[in-house]
């Protein structure tokens, strides 16, 4: 069964379409699609036996994603379709479309209404939908998160925004005890279809408390799903999927990615919440990453390709549960794994992922899994120190070289 990554269209086809050649010069169409959909450059169909068909010369086109601006060059048909926008606009579009579609979807958070959101994700929504549907709350994270949960139990579908993910530490009680647990402790009687979202991650000298990565803190809570978006395409898709999901979903956005520009399709689409995204297929090493580190990885990949390596880059997107299907296929192909994340080393997503891969795919590994994480340090203010807190492309290159010896 071939898995098509990127979940194009509302019904992500898991059909056995014949493997298509990967060629960045033309968009790849699934045979079931009757319309052309603009695709990003790095799209491929991976068959269940892990083979990816390359173009006959065996050498891949060097069209990687060189910088943070994701362009979809070379696709004449696709460039007529879709529209270009920034990541925060994509989130806003997703949110707005879902609010139109279902009157029970509402937003609550600090400054989401009149101010339009601290990162403008909810800009214009209050004017359109009213002050009750886009609710400006007082500064009481624990209580308004609980309020969102109570509203979800009684029939609404709130999207709860933390102005910065770090503020949701104050809501940990409600997220852990109520969001995660109530469906279970009520014996399945109440569902909590909330989406908790907000910007997190290390920004530009924002200081320790505004640069936190809460993925690791939330990951153990039973009963919640976690996803991290990284491009405008998957931001909109994940936002919509998260709102439509009956489970409580935590959507991690990154402060530095809000101004990414990309062309996304005009039509309605969602991205599966549990699916990982194949960013760049390869043969030598599997690099697993998510959120902002994806761009550092792709930058390193440029260098690596020039040095003759062929890394396979997967944006795991789903932080809980891991898409071990995609990851497993990749491990079985390359036999080497490097995890690059922005989370802390101790107890982070990388640590869990290492454990999951070791448990399930140990026989396929030729080398121990390497995990590059941020330093276990409160993010310093000084720019030079902050730079070395997170993983930089040079370190990724060194790690791959080490792994592939």
């Amino acid at each position: 069964m071939a898995a098509i990554f990127q979940g194009v269209g509302a019904a992500a086809p898991l059909s056995s379409s014949p493997s298509n050649s990967f060629d960045s010069n033309k968009s790849v169409f699934s045979p079931r699609r009757s319309f052309s959909v603009s695709k990003r450059v790095s799209f491929a169909v991976v068959r269940s036996d892990g083979k990816v068909n390359l173009n006959p010369k065996g050498r891949r086109d060097q069209r990687l994603i060189p910088n943070a601006v994701a362009t979809n060059a070379g696709s004449a048909a696709a460039s007529k379709q879709g529209h270009e926008l920034l990541l925060f606009e994509a989130l806003q579009e997703g949110l707005e479309e879902e609010m139109e579609r279902d009157p029970r979807v509402c937003v609550m958070g600090e400054d989401v209404g009149h101010y339009g959101g601290s990162y403008k994700v909810t800009k214009g929504l209050a004017k359109r939908f009213g002050d009750l549907r886009v609710l400006d709350t007082p500064i009481a994270e624990n209580s308004f998160t609980g309020m969102g949960i109570g509203a979800a139990m009684t029939g609404l579908r709130p999207v709860i925004e933390g102005m910065n993910m770090g503020f949701l530490l104050l809501a940990f009680n409600q997220i852990s005890n109520n969001c995660g647990m109530l469906h279970y402790t009520s014996g399945g009687q109440f569902t909590i279809p909330v989406v908790v979202r907000g910007p997190g991650g290390v920004g530009r000298q924002l200081g320790a408390e505004h640069s936190q990565r809460l993925e690791s803190y939330f990951q153990s809570i039973p009963g919640i799903q976690m996803v991290a978006c990284s491009t405008p395409y998957n931001a909109k898709g994940l936002m919509k999927a998260a709102i439509r999901s009956e489970n409580p979903v935590i959507l991690f956005e990154h402060v530095l990615l809000y101004n990414l520009k990309e062309r996304i399709p005009d039509e309605d689409y969602i991205c599966n919440l549990e699916e990982a995204e194949m960013v760049r297929p390869g043969e030598h090493v599997t690099i697993l990453t998510y959120s902002r580190m994806r761009y550092h990885v792709m930058q390193a990949a440029k260098t690596l390709v020039n040095k003759g390596y062929d890394p396979e880059v997967i944006d795991i997107r789903s932080l809980k549960p891991f898409d071990l299907y995609t990851i497993g296929n990749s491990v079985k192909k390359t036999h080497r794994v490097l995890i690059v994340e922005e989370c802390m080393r101790t107890g982070g997503i990388g640590a869990s992922l290492t454990a999951a891969i070791t448990e399930n795919f140990n026989d396929y590994l030729d080398a121990p899994i390497m995990c590059l994480s941020s330093q276990d340090v409160p993010t310093p203010y000084a720019g030079t120190l902050e730079e070395v807190t997170v993983v930089q492309p040079a370190q990724i290159v060194t790690a791959v070289e080490q792994l592939c010896q």
């Binding site: 309020m147 109570g150 109530l182 399945g188 799903q225 009956e246 549960p321």
Partner: protein, 432 residues
């Protein structure tokens, strides 16, 4: 008898901070003129600031606020507060609560239920007084002392007892336990183990009611939510944050404080700078009412008005019910700190005995009818125990069910198998 927010501000006298005498040493909270706790009078809740009234409840000659606001009518001309049917309903509900809790204690000591079990003996007037005024679609949110709230709201005694025994026929399939009583059908939104945690959830339910009316345009939606919690919770941040939000948006919610003076072993007076909890209502812009929580009729009168206020869309009310728990905090609590004299004093104000007296004295019903109700409740409770005993324990396969509402979204491919290669993550389907 409308609460106008303009006059909803008490201006109490400065409170003597070093008064160490707890409530137990007070004179009884009824002046000598009133012979029985049940006046049959309508407490008129005048909320105008009245510096003349001496609100030094804690000092020796304290006058309780409920005294202050009570209008004394001579017994002969008073109108009955309740009809016969209402009286019997209230009586039955309180007796059910009492008998059920007593049976819980028995079952606990026989090893049929485990963990933390918090019993409600003595506080029945609050639950009955408030919840019997609600409709099916109104919501109730409680704390760990939630058995009787669930029973009053209509959850069958069988379901609650099975849940306590941990059987699969319990209201939460045995997965919740004593502290997590939920019922979708009867709109009991929990059952929370951490205090204060349920108050935001109640605020959310009230928000849904307002949203349904104003955004979804179902103009006749007037669902009210009641949030029950204790005196200890009133020092918790979530309480204050929710008072603020509820008053700000005029949510249809009533905050009911069951002030039984003790948070496990911590006396309310030792932990609170201003023990008069009803004062905290006006600080946020809502009326704060104090009522005698051992008297179901008084509670019912206050509740009627507070719930009507919420239904009309005028916003929240904070009601402090002065009550007492006859047993310890939980069945594991040796209850050594409380003064036996205090316990005796409150035992004398047992709400069930008081209502019985009222019903008989007002000729609403005969002793025989009340005894018949007692007998009926005994049978209900025994049947509940039998049902729970005979119910099956949850099978192992139930462990991973209901973790997620939508496991189908979890990597299940079109062939019905898990795409994730780690199927231990979750199993089963959503089961209600």
């Amino acid at each position: 008898m409308a609460f106008s927010t303009a006059t909803a501000y008490f201006a109490p006298q400065p409170f003597p901070l070093n008064t160490a005498s707890p409530r137990s040493h007070d004179n009884p909270l009824i002046t000598p003129a009133s012979a029985s706790p049940f006046f049959g009078s309508t407490p008129k809740l005048r909320l105008s600031p009245s510096p003349k009234f001496n609100l030094h409840r804690r000092s020796g000659s304290g006058v309780s606020v409920s005294q202050v606001v009570k209008e004394k009518k001579p017994k002969s001309t008073r109108s009955l507060l309740i009809t016969k049917d209402e009286g019997l309903e209230l009586y039955e509900d309180m007796v059910l609560g009492r008998a059920f809790e007593d049976m819980c204690a028995q079952m606990y000591y026989r090893g049929k239920m485990f963990g933390f079990v918090h019993l409600y003996n003595g506080q029945e007037a609050v639950s009955t007084g408030f919840i019997k005024l609600l409709k099916q679609q109104d919501s109730v949110v409680s704390t760990y002392r939630d058995h009787v709230h669930a029973l009053s709201k209509g959850v069958p005694a069988r379901a609650v007892m099975s849940e306590l025994f941990g059987k699969t026929t319990g209201c939460c399939r045995g997965q919740g336990g004593s502290m997590h009583m939920f019922s979708r059908e009867h709109n009991v939104l929990g059952g929370f183990a951490f205090i204060g945690e349920g108050i935001p959830v109640a605020t959310g339910a009230a928000f849904t009611s307002k949203y349904t009316r104003e955004v979804l345009k179902e103009v006749d939606c007037d669902h009210v939510t009641l949030a029950f919690f204790g005196d200890g919770t009133c020092n918790n941040g979530q309480f204050f944050e929710c008072l603020n939000m509820a008053a700000l948006w005029k949510l249809p919610i009533v905050f009911v404080v069951e002030n039984n003076l003790w948070a496990i072993g911590m006396s309310h007076l030792r932990s609170t700078s201003d023990p008069q909890i009803y004062n905290k209502g006006p600080a946020f812009g809502m009326p704060g009412i104090h009522v005698d929580g051992m008297d179901v009729l008084k509670v019912r009168e206050v509740a009627k008005e507070a719930i009507a206020r919420a239904r009309r869309g005028e916003g929240p009310t904070l009601v402090e019910c002065e009550t007492y728990r006859f047993r310890g905090h939980s069945l594991a609590d040796p209850d050594e700190l409380r003064d036996p004299a205090e316990k005796e004093r409150y035992a004398a104000r047992d709400p069930i005995k008081a209502l019985k007296k009222y019903i008989i004295e007002s000729n609403l019903a005969s002793e025989a009818e009340l005894k018949a109700i007692d007998k009926k409740i005994d049978e209900v409770v025994e049947d509940a125990v039998e049902f729970a005993d005979e119910s099956p324990v949850p099978p192992r396969s139930q462990l991973l069910e209901n973790v997620f509402a939508d496991p189908k979204g979890f990597g299940i491919g079109p062939d019905g198998r898990y795409r994730c290669a780690d199927p231990k993550f979750t199993e089963g389907t959503a089961h209600v």
